[in-house]
Amino acid sequence: MFTWMVRRLFQACFVVLAMTVIVFVGVHVIGNPVDILISPEADQAERARIIANLGLDQPLWRQYLYFLNDAVHGNLGRSFVFNEPALKLIGGRMPATLELAVTAVLFSICFGVPLGLYAGLKPDSFFGRTVMAGSILGFSLPSFWVGLMLIMVFAVQLGWLPSTGRGQTEVLFGIHWSFLTWDGLRHMFMPALNLSLFNISLVLRLTRAGVRETLPMDYIKFARAKGLSPARVIFVHVLKNIMIPVVTVVGLELGSTIAFAVVTESVFAWPGMGKLIIDSINVLDRPVIVAYLMMIVLLFITINLVVDILYTVLDPRVRLETKA
């Protein structure tokens, strides 16, 4: 178990390192680093001074080491637009994105598991079939379009929910959160639903497949033969078997959800880091772009690592195999 974890950690570090190389090469070799790192308004003398200052006259490998050194110390340059350290800028926007992504993941379980359970228990019913057909749409529809339709129907036509923004926020641990106010929750509902649509479909299908697979098992028949209530059989014996793969997949999807928040945040003008990166790409605010990419890669690899470890802890069978 311990050697396995060390190996896994080592792998993760390697991927992070590989990604820094890719980003570095991308920004410093393919693009012109002078354009990227120096504000276009700088004059000739200042350019020369900054080039020397940044070590851009140095050989590439040394430049990479400088870059790595800076990155480790949290220095990824200043935003041209906001004139703030890029990392601090992104860190400030991160809670909004995390809040949205975590809510979306919760949504995917709250909607996906019951719907999938129903479709699995009554596969031939009208509602069961409808749910399955709907899940195909959930997979194939571009999420920005669904977001627009949500706004059109619920904000413009019906006027039930606010269309854009984060609403009123409340401070907790020095960070602004939307989920602490009613207005914030109202603002969060549509974006979170939009972001979770793909995951709802995914969880729904997983749950349904799990139910279909588990129901004919002898241990379910034995549980019934013990005289347990149908509720106990379904919610304990069936669901416990299904929740392990569902939780794993949902956990793995958290990273994707954060990445896809880029789209949802743009549609709903949600002031998270996804919105920031799109704005930054559009105005070529490269330090922010680099900082975002590094940040999200790190986040991603951390999530994968944590889910892997959680998985072994959750499933008694896997746990034993790794011990043995």
Binding site: D218, F222, A223, A225, G227, L228, V236, H237, K240, P316
Partner: protein, 324 residues
């Protein structure tokens, strides 16, 4: 002695695409308190479906199409699901063939036992746990207190079957249906389990229905035997006389197929052909296509006849005439 269970003209049919499959077709037998009833037949003869019919766990497309299942005079085919549930695992219990599959792999043993206790007895969790521990000790599981905290995969096959038996006997049932519980086990373990169940059933006066395809298992265990073929009981009677003087050619063939130490060197006799598909049974006696004694008369339905007290046979040409 009082009759615990009497099955009268039971019919359990499966409505499949290929037509109505008569898995159990006009089956009658009875079991008295403390008695062991052996239900013998090849796979597909309907013996397991008979068991599931009694405990009310026939799943669609199957359903009980007719007949009575009288448990202490109460017809189980008529009572509500709720009433049936209060009997299941309480007064009537069942153990299954494959011990690897009968326990839920993701739930600990204590969970699976305590829920059974609490399903039928209004006791505290601690009390339920104590009872579970005692039950484990009773079926010969060493250090039951620690084993309660284990998961099923931490047990061997034989141990798992013991756990299943302990669960089935938690409420000292009046009737235990054992559906080939030793088939999947090693021979030595098989004998232990056999002896264990016999002992426990005798102690509590539990009536036992032992379903098997293996006559040698039933020989030393059963008081009465019913032989099933293609959904029907073709012969029944007390164990000794059925085994010594089989009347039906099928029973005779079955006994001949058992390899025996005494008949070493002799050629094993075998029943030619295969069990017919229940969807395309020949009219009349279902066995006639494999029977050496079949005549034109066998195209008619053979009636139940009782050539001597306590015996029944469905055959126009029984093996021996009524002997003195």
């Amino acid at each position: 002695m009082s009759v615990t269970l009497e099955v009268r003209n039971l019919r359990t049919h499966f409505h499949t695409r290929g037509g109505i499959l008569k898995a159990v077709d006009d089956v009658s037998f009875s079991v008295e308190q403390g008695q062991v009833m052996g239900l013998v037949g090849e796979s597909g003869s309907g013996k397991s479906v008979t068991g599931f019919s009694i405990i009310g766990l026939v799943d669609p497309p199957g359903r009980i199409a007719g007949g009575q299942i009288l448990y202490r005079g109460q017809d189980l085919a008529k009572i509500s699901e709720r009433e049936m549930r209060s009997l299941r695992g309480n007064r009537i219990a069942m153990i299954f063939q494959d011990p690897m599959m009968t326990l839920n792999p993701v739930l600990r043993i204590d969970t699976q036992m305590i829920e059974t206790v609490q399903a039928h007895a209004n006791v505290s969790k601690a009390e339920a746990r104590t009872r579970s521990r005692d039950a484990l000790g009773m079926v010969g599981i060493p250090s039951p207190e620690e084993r309660l905290n284990s998961y099923p995969h931490q047990f061997s096959g034989g141990m798992r079957q013991r756990v299943a038996i302990a669960i089935a006997l938690l409420h000292n049932p009046d009737l235990l249906i054992a559906d080939e519980p030793t088939t999947a086990l090693d021979v030595t373990i098989q004998a232990q389990i056999l002896a264990e169940v016999q002992k426990l059933a005798a102690e509590h006066g539990t009536a036992l229905i032992w379903i098997t395809h293996d006559l040698s298992v039933i020989a030393g265990l059963a008081d009465r035997i019913a032989v099933m073929y293609a959904g029907r009981v073709v012969e029944s009677g007390d164990a000794a006389s059925v085994l010594d003087r089989p009347l039906h050619p099928y029973t005779h063939g079955l006994i001949g197929s058992v390899p025996s130490r005494n008949k070493r060197g002799e050629k094993l006799r075998q029943i030619p052909g295969m069990t017919p598909s229940l969807l395309s049974l020949p009219p009349g006696c279902a066995f006639r296509t494999r029977c050496a004694r079949a005549t034109a008369a066998c195209g008619q339905e053979p009636p139940e006849e009782s050539p001597e007290t306590g015996r029944m046979v469905r055959c126009f040409h029984p093996m021996e005439a009524v002997s003195a």
